[in-house]
Amino acid sequence: AQSVAQPEDQVNVAEGNPLTVKCTYSVSGNPYLFWYVQYPNRGLQFLLKYITGDNLVKGSYGFEAEFNKSQTSFHLKKPSALVSDSALYFCAVRSNYGGATNKLIFGTGTLLAVQP
């Protein structure tokens, strides 16, 4: 069965500092991995995805994520945090295994709070 773990309910970081939001996954076959962001009272927005190829993927708003197969991780990173990055971040996985359906399985979310 597919699953995603986001071990931190909340991450606090000062503006201008680097940030990391952690995600680990479990899936049969090779994973398709995604990060989504949810701003207050808004729907989820796609940030970036890993399908294949380069382990470091870049997405919207200066975010990037690194796929690590041996550690089954897909941590979200940004070199310099902004107050406007404060939001709820969700990691998601889908298997490319032939028997899997197309649904994304989401983690429980990590609240990122960037202090000025």
């Binding site: 989504y36 808004r42 729907g43 927005q45 796609f46 969700f90 197309n102 649904k103 399985i105 989401f106």
Partner: protein, 115 residues
């Protein structure tokens, strides 16, 4: 339309009543998904449509929950005899051709409160 549209945005109902939540996906998107977001629970998958059929309805929590999609477009999620534990934000998402590698586009959700 330009994005995924959900209605109502807010619904307050009494325990035991039936509710219908509507989702209008992005035009041309063949796949449609319903998720439920509860505080501290993340996003819980409910059901997935490809066209008008539902290959995966494994996330529907009980037989009080049902969903349909007509014309390959609008979908309705129906909750019968609502319970307080049904209170949550119900999110709809769509994607093109079953999202083989692409992303989901989400609506802003329908917040359901069962008193």
């Amino acid at each position: 339309g330009a994005g995924v549209s959900q209605s109502p945005s807010n619904k307050v109902t009494e325990k035991g009543k039936d509710v219908e939540l509507r989702c209008d996906p992005i035009s041309g998107h063949t796949a449609l998904y319903w998720y439920r977001q509860s505080l501290g629970q993340g996003l819980e998958f409910l059901i997935y449509f490809q066209g008008n059929s539902a290959p995966d309805k494994s996330g529907l929590p009980s037989d009080r929950f049902s969903a349909e999609r007509t014309g390959g477009s609008v979908s309705t999620l129906t909750i019968q005899r609502t319970q307080q534990e049904d209170s949550a934000v119900y999110l709809c998402a769509s994607s093109f051709q079953g999202m083989n590698t692409g992303e989901l586009f989400f609506g802003e959700g329908s917040r359901l409160t069962v008193l």
